[in-house]
Amino acid sequence: MTLTMEAPIPVFDDDATDRKMAIICSKGSLDMAYPGLVLANAALGEGIETHLFFTFWGFDIINKETMGQLHFTPVGNPATHMSPMLMGLPGMTAFATHMMKKQIEGIDVPSVPEFLELITDAGGHLWACRMSADMMHLTEADLYERVEGIISASDFIELSEGAQTIFV
């Protein structure tokens, strides 16, 4: 049944946009880099203040040397549904990485460096972990230029006050 009425107006700037999210990226493999990036991008598109905190292996995502060359290794990954013996063969990681990158590109999802550009263009904040930087002997000069700073764990606790925190 249809009837004529004044059209409803969607509510876009409701209180939900006062939400805040903090996403901790702790892993640097290709398959573990994307979940955090995709969520951050989605949150920003909803008008949510979003912070990404890169720690431990997650540093590879913002390290200029490695950010464009993250790998996917099928070794010990039951999600591949393949024989573990086969997955350990030489060249398998390169092959699996190549396949995954092609699949990601095929659905028009950006590469990791491009994704970070997109996220910061959308207003997202990137932070690096102090302890990881010290451990790996890295300084801000080694990191993607849009990283806003190397901060301590307690700095992160402070800036994530009131945020929904996601650990990847």
Partner: protein
């Protein structure tokens, strides 16, 4: 889905107020929709809206922000300025299209 009146036109909308019939839209209507959500349409807004509609005609789905920036040539930063806070949904609403379904 129900019939509603926007800027003197009788059109089909969903429960939230998004138009559901592609052919019922025109720029005058778009201006009213933009006004409803406190956006004054400039030529740049209209460029974005036209890209969105042209793309929908071919793809059958609403372009995501990334698609608008890479193919439509309007940078992400600017999209957030033109349609603050929730650009993808606001653009779709003004363009008389469904909300984008893609993740990125």
């Amino acid at each position: 889905m129900s019939l509603a009146v926007i800027a003197g036109n009788e059109v089909h909308v969903d429960d939230e107020g998004f138009m559901t019939e592609f052919e019922e839209w025109n720029e005058e209507l778009g201006k009213q929709l933009a006004h409803n959500i406190s956006i004054d349409l400039t030529e740049r807004h209209l460029e974005t809206i036209r890209f969105l509609r042209d793309d929908y005609k071919v793809q059958g789905e609403t372009a995501t922000l990334r698609r608008v920036s890479t193919l439509g040539g309007i940078p992400t930063k600017e999209l957030f300025e033109l349609f603050p806070k929730k650009p993808a949904k606001k653009m779709a609403y003004i363009a008389g299209l469904p909300k984008p379904a893609g993740c990125v």
